[in-house]
């Protein structure tokens, strides 16, 4: 792949977290008994008419604002094609006048990825093919569940600004965090409430023209996204380097064989015959309404990363995990109470993967203070922290129940002296070694002391003693 650049643009569909469907009062709910969340409108019965769900528009505007899009007057259009799980045999979508125009999303590393548009549309039902291994062509019959038909979707069309599978994953991951943070969607890829179609093309490094793209569908996880991009870009490079050309196609990612397969060629592409939906009136959100929605928006993940990074004196990207776990408020509160930022973030990243539980900011900052003050070793602090998460309480009291007390430095010096006497070669190596060797040997000595004290010693203090003794030689 040397000498080739991969160009990726993603189309992400996310189900909006409304109580009812986009155009009717049927419930928007995942996992009900088939065909129970339906009504004449979501079944597309003759004579039924759509009525727009205002909450869906509000959520769409939130998405637009979060993605720095221009929120604009819009209208709905019909996208016409026959498919059994689409009740009306057309989908109500938006075409040349989407509710959200151009915008951008900032990745944790600071790069901005362009957004082409983010528009509203309705979801389809779901087909189940019975017999023939569940494949449509061999099936003896198909069943259709219309519970999902008419569920509101926001389709977020990204510009071809991504350059690798990693980029694509980072983009989708950030987008998901944003959608969840603003309450627009639950972002669950595994339940299909967030779906990713991936446009991939390749071109020689330095080339400005885009190569012929293929759209890859059926990507059901972040992991598949990375794999599909890797496979598809490699396939295209192989075609070109062997003298063939890439055909514009829609391709299907197969999770089992790890390949993409032709779904349809450009010639077989549908002519959707878009035209303005005559059963709906245009949607022109007022400036007042948009301002109201903007005022009620929570801080976005990117803003939270910058806030935490500023407080902790680190790069925003280094704050990503803490924000992703939703523990930035806890971390900031603990820092406000005087806790050492570095220790706070180490604990959040290493020891709070399952959330803060019963841990309060007060207890957290007190614990970190004990640790930095040498009252508790890192190992002991971790043990106490786990208890605080489980059942709360005061860190000093919890430490006492474990019998954790700081070891006297002179007692430690005695132990270190004894250890040096027992291991003269290791000591020689420590004193005379280069930086790498010294580090290795310090690890050995600290480990031995920890073993001898059953974890009660403070590793940092042991290191200080070793350094002092070595300098004194």
């Amino acid at each position: 792949m040397d000498g080739w650049e991969v160009v990726i643009g993603l189309e992400v569909h996310a189900e909006l977290a409304t109580a009812t469907k986009l155009f009717s009062g049927a419930r928007n709910e995942f996992g009900g008994e088939p065909n129970t969340n339906v009504d004449p409108v979501s079944l597309g019965l003759p004579g039924s008419l759509p009525v727009l769900n205002e909450k869906a528009v509000e959520l769409a505007i939130r998405v637009g604002l979060a993605l720095n899009c221009s929120v604009q007057a819009s209208e709905f259009a019909r996208k016409n094609y026959f498919y059994p799980d689409m009740p009306k045999d057309f989908q109500i979508s938006q075409f040349d006048q989407p509710i959200n125009g151009e915008g951008w999303l900032e990745l944790p590393d600071g790069r901005r990825i362009g957004i082409e548009r983010a528009h509203l549309e309705e979801d389809t039902g779901k087909s189940t093919h019975v017999g023939g291994g569940g494949r449509i062509h061999e099936a003896s019959y198909s069943l259709v569940d219309y519970n999902r038909a008419g569920v509101p979707l926001i389709e977020i069309v990204g510009k071809p600004d991504l350059r690798s599978g990693e980029d694509a994953r980072a983009y989708v991951s950030e987008l998901r965090s944003i959608l969840v943070a603003i309450g627009a969607s639950d972002g669950k890829m595994e339940e299909g409430s967030m779906r990713v179609d991936c446009n991939v093309s390749v071109r020689p490094v330095g080339e400005d023209e885009l190569g012929t793209r293929c759209e890859v569908k059926n990507i059901n996880s972040l992991r598949s996204l990375g794999r599909a991009v890797t496979y598809e870009s490699r396939r295209q490079v192989d075609l070109i380097t062997s003298g063939q050309k890439v055909d514009q196609q829609t391709r299907h990612w197969n999770e089992e064989d790890g390949r993409t397969h032709t779904l349809r060629s450009k010639e077989e592409a549908f002519d959707y015959r878009y035209f303005p939906e005559p059963d709906l009136v245009p949607v022109a959100p007022s400036a007042e309404w948009i301002d109201e929605i903007r005022a009620a928006m929570p801080l976005l993940p990117g803003e939270r990363r910058k806030r935490l990074a500023g407080e902790a004196g680190i790069q925003p990207a280094a704050a990503a995990l803490t924000v992703e776990r939703g523990l930035d408020d806890l971390a900031l509160a603990a820092m406000d109470l005087g806790a050492d930022p570095e220790r706070v973030l180490v604990h959040v990243e290493n020891n709070l993967a399952d959330g803060q539980g019963a841990l309060t900011a007060d207890a957290f900052s007190a614990l970190v203070a004990m640790e930095t003050g040498g009252v508790l070793t890192a190992t002991q602090a971790k043990t106490v922290l786990a208890d605080l998460v489980d059942s709360g309480g005061d860190p000093a009291a919890v430490a006492a129940t474990h019998g954790f007390e700081a070891m006297d430095t002179s007692e430690l010096e005695g132990l270190v002296d004894g250890l040096i006497a027992e291991n003269p070669d290791d000591w020689e190596a420590f004193v005379g070694g280069d930086e790498g060797e010294r580090k290795k040997k310090s690890g050995f000595f600290v480990g031995q002391i920890m073993k001898a004290t059953r974890g009660q010693a403070d590793g940092r203090v042991v290191n200080e003693i070793l350094e002092r003794l070595a300098d004194g030689v």
Binding site: P40, P46, G47, L52, R78, N80, F82, V144, R273
Partner: protein, 487 residues
């Protein structure tokens, strides 16, 4: 007897709803075999409903302004549990699980639904010859068509089977059959009557409206079904207009313009208007002038392009609206090896020629590469028509034209020539494109002794003045349109 007096007699306890319904069922039993106005007469349900209305009166209650009055529904309006066919084989066996809004409103007004009337398949036609269940005949002359597409609803009223009926009008489908059958027919302002539960032909043009044997009855029925409906996003957010209260106000001082381009009188106008129809129009204009209106010639130049624009826009919307008839969820299914073949086999067997013709026209007009030249251009024409009307209504309160170029034509005469058939709607289509109200009032007969209709057009929400002019025309023409069973 008028619907107004029938309702009054039921509300006062003078007559029973059951008696009225039985009388009309008897008229149907007598004449329906010849006319074929109905696809379904809901005898049992109508009698049960009449008994409930009578029970309300017996308990001292008021069943509503349409108490005990029979109303027939064009068979494209959904009725819960009752077959709704749209005159098509493709809806074979389908019973809607819900009532159209107009059905609920009729129920609330005390009306008795007496049956579902025959129509051109999916409201596509001007003669009711395109029904899968055979044609409806014109009660005035059974060798003639009743017009269409709401021919069954017009014929049922003209034949005295029911005092009132509802039709739908996409390009003239209420007004043209009203004219050909000699009854009153109204297409209200777009959005005045809810379309929820009306099986769509062309959504931006479709509008439900009343048929009656006199202007006041038409006003009574329109008042009962009009008014905002949250289930229809294109419904106007206002309540039903007061029409009965203004009917006797006359036309003194109203400015009325005769549209030259669609009345056969202007130099740039369309041709094909029968001389007797033109004469009746001139007499109608004189009658309005005699009643104090200021009547002049008016020009609405782009109305001559209405037909062409209509035959792009309406089929385009229809091609999409009718996609859902695919054999998957309801109605006819013709089995095949796979889903795509099943869709095709079902639609091939279920749709008639005219419906297929329009689906193909509309699909073509919306196709990539043709959209701008057809659909896009037609929308521009539509805008021109709206602008032309707006200009005309700066000088006039109402406009006037014939409803149809000729009186009722013989069955079979135009059915094999779609273009000739389409020309029947030149006068009525512009109002649908503009979204304006218009109504047909019987005004004398042609040389063949068959009814002639005069069309009164008004700007959006101009129903009150439109009905005032209609009442004046009705009086001048010699009162309420007769029916064979009225004499």
């Amino acid at each position: 007897m008028s619907a107004l007096s029938l309702a009054a007699s039921v509300r006062s306890g003078e007559r029973s709803a059951r008696g009225i319904v039985e009388e009309h069922l008897a008229a149907i039993a007598d004449g329906e075999g010849e006319i074929h106005a109905f696809n379904l007469v809901t005898t049992d349900a109508a009698l049960e409903r009449a008994d409930r209305v009578d029970a309300v009166v017996a308990q001292g209650g008021d069943p509503g302004p349409l108490a005990g009055v029979p109303v027939a529904l064009k068979d494209n309006m959904c009725t819960r549990g009752v077959p709704t066919t749209c005159g098509s084989l493709i809806l074979d066996g389908w019973r809607p699980p819900y009532d159209a809004t107009v059905v609920e409103r009729l129920d609330a007004a005390g009306a008795v639904i007496i049956g579902k009337t025959n129509m051109d398949e999916f409201a596509m036609g001007s003669s009711t010859e395109n029904s899968a269940f055979g044609p409806t005949l014109n009660p005035r002359d059974t060798t003639r068509v009743p017009g269409g597409s709401s021919g069954g609803s017009a014929a049922a009223v003209a034949a005295g089977f029911t005092p009132l009926s509802l039709g739908s009008d996409t390009g003239g489908s209420i007004r043209q059959p009203a004219a050909l059958c000699g009854v009153v027919g109204v297409k209200p302002t777009y959005g005045a009557v809810s379309r929820y539960g009306l099986v769509a032909f062309a959504s931006s043009l479709d509008q439900i409206g009343p048929f009656a044997r006199n202007v006041a009855d038409a006003a009574l029925l329109l008042e009962a079904v009009a008014g905002h409906d949250p289930l229809d996003s294109t419904s106007i957010p206002v309540s039903a207009p007061d029409l009965l209260g203004v009917l006797d106000r006359g036309v003194e001082g109203l400015r009325v313009g005769i549209i030259e381009e669609i009345s056969g009188s202007g130099p740039t106008g369309l041709e094909g208007f029968a001389p007797d129809v033109q004469s009746r129009l001139a007499e109608a204009a004189e009658a309005l002038a005699a009643a104090g209106a200021v009547v002049e010639k008016a020009s609405v130049p782009s109305t001559v392009f209405g037909l062409s624009a209509y035959y792009v826009i309406a089929p385009a919307e229809a091609s999409s609206n009718l996609a859902r008839f695919d054999g998957v969820r309801f109605g006819l299914r013709v089995d095949a090896e796979n889903t795509v073949d099943m869709n095709a086999a079902t639609r091939t067997a279920g749709f008639g020629d005219e419906v297929k013709r329009r689906i193909m026209l509309g699909t073509y007009a919306l196709s990539a590469g043709y959209y701008d030249a057809y659909y896009g251009k037609s929308q521009k024409v539509r805008t021109l028509i709206v602008e032309d009307f707006a200009r005309a209504y700066q000088s006039f309160d109402l406009l006037l034209s014939p409803t149809a170029p000729t009186t009722a034509f013989p069955i079979g005469e135009k059915v094999d020539d779609p273009m000739l058939m389409y020309l029947n709607d030149v006068c009525t289509i512009p109002s649908n494109l503009a979204g304006h109200p218009a109504m047909s009032v019987p005004f004398g007969v042609g040389d063949d002794g068959l009814p002639v209709g005069v069309q009164v057009l008004a700007p959006a929400n101009g129903e009150p003045s439109m009905f005032r002019a209609a009442a004046v025309l009705e009086a001048a023409a010699g009162g309420s349109a007769g029916s064979r069973h009225d004499s």
